[in-house]
Symmetry: C2
Amino acid sequence: MTFSAPTSQAAPGGVGEVLGLFRAQPSLTRADVMERTGLSRSTVNQRLDALVGAGLIAPSGEGASTGGRPASRFAFNQDRGVLLVADVGATGMRTAACDLGGAVLVARECPIDVADGPHAVLTVIGRLFEEMLAEAGRTTAEAHGIGLDVPGPVDFGSGQVVSPPIMSGWDRFDIPGWFADRYACPVLVDKDVNAMAFGEQRRVYPDVSPLLMVKVGTGVGAGLIVDGRVFRGADGAAGDIGHIQVTVAGVDTEPICRCGNAGCLEAYAGGWALIRDLREAGQDVATVDDAVALIRTGDLTAVRLVRRAGRILGGAIADSVSLLNPRVVVITGQLARAEEQLFAGVREMVYRRSLPLATRSLQIVPTKLDTRAGLIGLALLLADGIFAPDRVEQLLSA
Amino acid sequence: MTFSAPTSQAAPGGVGEVLGLFRAQPSLTRADVMERTGLSRSTVNQRLDALVGAGLIAPSGEGASTGGRPASRFAFNQDRGVLLVADVGATGMRTAACDLGGAVLVARECPIDVADGPHAVLTVIGRLFEEMLAEAGRTTAEAHGIGLDVPGPVDFGSGQVVSPPIMSGWDRFDIPGWFADRYACPVLVDKDVNAMAFGEQRRVYPDVSPLLMVKVGTGVGAGLIVDGRVFRGADGAAGDIGHIQVTVAGVDTEPICRCGNAGCLEAYAGGWALIRDLREAGQDVATVDDAVALIRTGDLTAVRLVRRAGRILGGAIADSVSLLNPRVVVITGQLARAEEQLFAGVREMVYRRSLPLATRSLQIVPTKLDTRAGLIGLALLLADGIFAPDRVEQLLSA
C-alpha cells in the first residue's frame, strides 16, 4: 500500500482538520478548538468525542481556569502506534522506531552496500524493524507506517526507485510490496535528501520557505521544501543537483561521472570523486570517512582538494540560489563534517555569483539534525500522510 | 497601494470562495454552487444575492431544466471594470486594457529604452493607459488594477525593482506611488517572465505543474509556476537563469556579462551576446530582431551562432530540469522566433544531460500566447489579487 493523492476533499472544520490542530500544538482546550475553527461548542464536542474514541487524542492534565471549573486539555496521542523508518545510504543505513510525533524511540545503525540489491538490503531492514519493535515493546500490528529513503531517484506515487545511477538491481523493484506480507500499514519511499530536508525544515526552520538541503556524501543530491511541503517536481525527480554540469577553470578533460555523462558536479565534488583524487595524489583512503579524517589532520593535499570541492559545489549551489532563491541552504552528508574547509568555498561562490536580492537574507548552514534528519523527516512525512484530513475522516467513518 | 499577504483567513464557504467558483467557470446554477460548496440553499441564496448586489456576478441566461422551472444561471461579471497592464521590455513595450477575466480589450505597442529610467517610461505608460481607457469607453475610476512587468528583479511585496543589472535609475523607485495620484486601484509589479509564465500556464496548460518558462530576448530569464502559482522564492528573485554559469568547451576567456560576472548564460546565449558575436563576424546587426531576420535568411554564420546559443541555453535548461523537474518548458522571447534552429540545440542538451525520470514526459515547446503572454498573465495575476477570498469579504462587508 502506498500513499496516493486524496480521493476526496476533507470537509472544512471536519474531524481531520481538528486532529491537525492537535498535531501542531502540545495541547488544546475545547475553547482553543472553537476559536481556531469557528465551530460551535456542540460540534467541537462531537469532534473531540470521535477523536478520543478512536484513541487519536487523549485528555492531558487541566487547562487554565476560565473563571469557572478548569477547562479540560487534550493532546495528540503520539503513543497510539509506531512508525518504522530506514535511512538507506550507499554504504550504511540507519533505522528507527518513532512515535507518531516523529520522536525517535529506538534507533539502529548498520553497514550495508546498497548495490547488493533490494533483497539483501530489505532483509536486513526487516530484521532491524522486528528488533526495534521488540525493544520498544510494540507489536507488528502497532506499526502505523513504514518509511524508507534511498540515495536515488524515486517515483513517489508508486514507491519505486527509477533508473538509479547507483543502486543496481533496485530499478522499479516493488518496495511497498516487499513489506505487504508482514505489515498492513502504508509504505512510503522517498529520495534520501527529500526526507532529510523535510525533517530539518519542520524541526529547525518551521517558518522558513524555501529551504534547500544539499547532501554531500558519496554522491551529491538536493531536496527543496516550499511552504512546508517537499517540492518533488512533475515526476519526483526534482533536486538532482549532483548531475548538473559545472565549469572548472584549468580542467582539460572533464571527469566521467557514475551516471555516464562528463563534468557533473559530483564527478568533481562528491565523496567518491574526492577519494579518487586523494588516491591519485598517493593517499591511502578507502571511504569518505577516511577522507574526512585526513582533512581533519590538516593534511595539505586533502585540505586543498576539499577547498576546491567546496568552490565547485558552491558554483552549483549559486546556480540553485539563482533559480530557487531559498531563504536557508542546509548542507549535510559526510563531507559537511569537513565544516569550514567546505563551507568557506561554498559561501565564496554563492555571494560572488548570485543576485544581491537573492543573497541579502540568505543563510548557508550545516545541518542541526545531522544523522537523524532523514529518520525524523520520514516519520513526519508518514504522519502527515496517515493523518491527512481526508484519511482521518475515512478512518473514523469506516 | 500594493498587494500584501491576506490579513485574515477567508471563511470556508464564504462569499469570497463562492466568487472564486464563478471566476473558474463560464456560468453556474444555484444547484451547482450548493453541490460544490456543501452549503445549504438558503446560504447559497444569501451569497448570490450579495455578489449580484455588488455587481460581481450577474444572471446569465437560463440553465437546463431540473424537472420544474429552469434554474437560473449566473456568471462572473467580467465587465464590472478594467485592468490596465504594461509589459515592459528592454527596447519596447506592450500595453493593454483587459476585462476582469483577462481578455484583451484594447492593446498598444511602443518602442522605448528602459534605461531612460522610470520617469520617462512611466510617463509613456500613463499616457497609453489614458488612451486605451478612452478607446474602451471607460473612466479612470473603472480601473480595478494596474499591472506592470519589467525585465529585472522585483521585490513583489513592495512593487520595487531591486538592483537590476539593466534598467538604470529604476533601483527601488516607487512604481505604485507613481500611479497613486491618478488611480485609486492596487498596483502590481512583477518580473516580466513571471507574468508570461503565469499567463501561459493558466490559459494554455491549466492542469500542468511545474511549468518553466524561459525568455530568450535581449537577456535571458525564467519563471516557474507550481500548483498554479508563481514560484518567487524567498525574496522574489527565483528564476534568475540568465546569470547561472555555463560550461562551453573550447572557450579560453569567458565573456563578461552585463551583471559584472564572467561566463553567465546570457553572456553566451542572450540576444545582446548574439549581436556582439555577429558583429565580430562582420555582420551589420543592431537589434535582436535584425539577428533573427538574418538567421531566417539562412546566413551560415548566423545559423551556426544561434545553434551554438541553443546548445548553451540547453545546458542551462538541462540544469533547471534536473533541479526542478518541470512537466513543460515553454520558450519565449525574440530569439524563440528562430524556432527550430534554437530548439534543436535545447532539446539535444536536455535529453542528453537530465535524468530519464525527469525527461520521460517532458515537453519543450515554443510559447502559444507569444507577445500577449505577459499582458494576459498580468491581468490574471491582478484579478487573482483583487478577488482573493479575504479581499472580497472585506469589500462586501465594508
